[in-house]
Amino acid sequence: MRRRDFLQGVTAGALTFFFTTPVGSAPIVPTRPGAYPEDFNAYLKVSADGRVGCFVGKVELGQGAMTVLAMLVAEELELDPAQVDMCLGDTDLCPWDMPTGGSLTMWHTAPVLRGAAAEARAVLLRMASKTLGAPVADLTLKDGAIWVKASPARRTTFGELVKGRKMERHLGKVKPKPLSDCTVIGRRVPRKDALAKITGAAKYAGDLRFPGTLHACILRPPAHGLTLATADTAAAERIPGVRIVRDGTLLAVLHPQPDTARKALALVKGTFEGTEPDVDDVRIYQYLVDKAAPGQRVVISRGDLAAGEKRAATVVEGEYRNAYESHATLEPHTSVAKWEEGRMTVWASTQSPFVFREAVAEALKLGPDKVRIIAQFVGGGFGGKLVGPGAVEAARIARQVPGVPIQVAWNREEDLFLDTYRPAAVVKLRSGLDAGRGAITFWDSTVAGVSQGEAELSYDMQATRYQAPAVPGLHPLKAGAWRAPNAHTNAFARESQLDALAAKAGVDPVTLRRRLITDARLLRLLDLAVETFGWEPAPGPTGRGIGLACGAWRQGLVVAVAQVAVDKTTGKVRTERFLEAVDVGLVVNPDGARQQVEGAITMCIGQALSEEIRFKGGRILDKNFDTYLLPRFSAIPRIEVVFADNATMVTQGIGEPPVVPVAAALANAVFDATGARVTHVPFTPERVLEALKRVPAK
């Protein structure tokens, strides 16, 4: 293959689809926010050359949506996934969808897409039946061809049948193939984005190079709570090529070169007004508890707490905290916007093309039909790119310079400053175990900073009360969804508390969980995890440094087992081994699912041990990766992943579940190693040393 062909092949397989629609032309798919189109043509098109195009409003964040969705189409249409061209996240070309988050792609979108592909298969077979003069039952299909089984020379192709047109015939709901007939689902499939990503050809929003692009750098206040009052741009404007755009409190310095725009911005002198929040990363926990207190309400209540406490032989009281944590995607938020012929097009690094469309339309007072969002390859999301202030900024600037593409690429400092963090939180728990060490007699939980989402797991508890605040604007900093929101905070508290109860009562933590678990599926998963890991029952702390935790996200279940070594002089925790047993129902793409689990474990080693946003008032003190510490290669343990064999349950999605129990398993492992209970995420060396000081001498 010549190099040119090779590189063209690379880009053709990417998000930019094989036929491009000029900006301003009528949408191919009428978008209906809030509902999936019923017409399968919205999802699938057969081009004249017989290739199948698949259109979905999700995006490729690295989680493998492009590959796994192609697998579903390939399965029903008897193609190789490589024969399916994916177009993702273009609001003009793709049917409406929810944001790419919450592990919704496989749970929510996949059945719709698979149903559409099943209907398309049935329609194609009927069309072929007419063309070939043979009953459908006598036909077979493979690789885009349909032929009469008994006489393969009587054949036609998808391309010949459809001739690039819309398929008019509809059959309503058609059942997808039974699992026993599936040949693509469950198979290791090469990632469709591999070639583009390993050659550098994959285009992220910041890689677009439209002629005449101006790079916009925005004047930021030094602290949250402040907005721009006055600005002196004279020095910046002396740099040749600089242009200043103002829109209310938004001030941007534009230049054809991104680095020159950034340098010119540094010459702008701004004054800011407003009030910074009066809190910092140390006082935040009491701040949240105090502010939440008047709004606390009972969200779940069962049984008599006081009676339960009387029955308890062992009572543990715990307070569990976690800091603000950044998404810190390696690709900072980036958008390119262009205002042309009364329409705004934004090429964005986004998880939510349709939400971004609404946000841009609202900011510019346009109808949503006047806005087109085109998602590019996205350099990580994790919940951080569900919202689009950068896209709105780019659009506001572009609106003032018609016809000029405007790129807004946040730098790392802006990305850490403007992120919607994982919310800091405090969970207070009080609970008791009976004398037989087999029943939780009461469990009383109060949170501040998060909801009680996924706080309960299928443990038998005789009396429970869960309280959460209904206080708008609780957080002094912007908080948002961070991969499995609420669930990791609540699982950390719950699983730490259970371990503390087990230790105080002198029972092995796995044995205690076995006695409490009411769901057979979770029980089987626990067995799978401990058998694979080689758990030897013993009450903690054993000194081995092994800890276990369970977690859930919807019906997706995970049991995590961690092994750590703790340096008692430095407080440094080293993760040596980490196993997760995962039950998310039918696993469509085993290697893709495995990648998600490996990634979640790795990411949450950072969450548990090192990642924390430090702040003073509205000032974010972490400005780059020198102090905001992501896990590096030396922090990575041996990782093992096992999936429960549960192909009869509907696929649950895999982005969130494996995140949930990681910090808890590590905290329980630290306890097992040292007898010190770490209750504050991240458990940095300083916090581990503090916890070690609290361990009573034997």
């Binding site: 050659t199 550098g200 890689d207 994790f382 290669f633």
Partner: protein, 158 residues
């Protein structure tokens, strides 16, 4: 400050008219259109912009144009020759040693620079060599496996 600077880029001579103190990453991406080299931190902390200068891995966000005058620069776009992937690229593809892909160019360049010198590396040595490159998606275990297997493919089988 503006001057022309000449260097070898992916095997071909190039001359760029740009300030000598301009960072290489911007020259590559904006003057030369090679956007495979990514911008992650602009401070040499994340490795996303790693390129090879005279076969040494350097962060191009902290390397000036003057630094590469008369030298040899290799970027991700220059690794595959006539459509044939480099052994490190092959290994990253086979192991699915990436997710979002934003760190991948830098990872591959760092790994290639290291393996050229030491294909028979131990796991510990590979970890040390890759320590400056961040991956947020958590592809680390696969990246380590891919680097090991690329080393073997390059004749460094252990």
């Amino acid at each position: 400050m503006s001057a022309t600077v000449s260097f070898m880029l992916n095997g071909k001579p190039v001359t760029v008219a740009s300030p000598r103190d301009r960072m290489l990453v911007w020259v590559l991406r904006d003057e030369l259109g090679l956007t495979g080299t990514k911008v992650g931190c602009e401070a040499g902390l994340c490795g996303a912009c790693t390129v090879l200068v005279d076969f040494e891995a350097v962060p191009s966000c902290s390397t000036t144009l003057a630094d590469v005058a008369g030298k040899t620069v290799l970027t991700i776009e220059g690794l595959a020759v006539d459509g044939k992937l480099n052994p490190v690229q092959e290994a990253f593809k086979d192991h699915h040693a990436f997710q979002c892909g934003y760190c991948t160019s830098g990872m591959i360049m760092a790994a290639w620079a290291f393996l050229k010198k030491k294909p028979k590396a131990t796991r510990t040595e590979i970890v040390e060599a890759m320590e400056g490159n961040l991956c947020r998606c958590g592809a680390h275990v696969r990246i380590l496996e891919a680097v090991e297997s690329a080393g073997k493919a390059m004749g460094g089988g252990r």
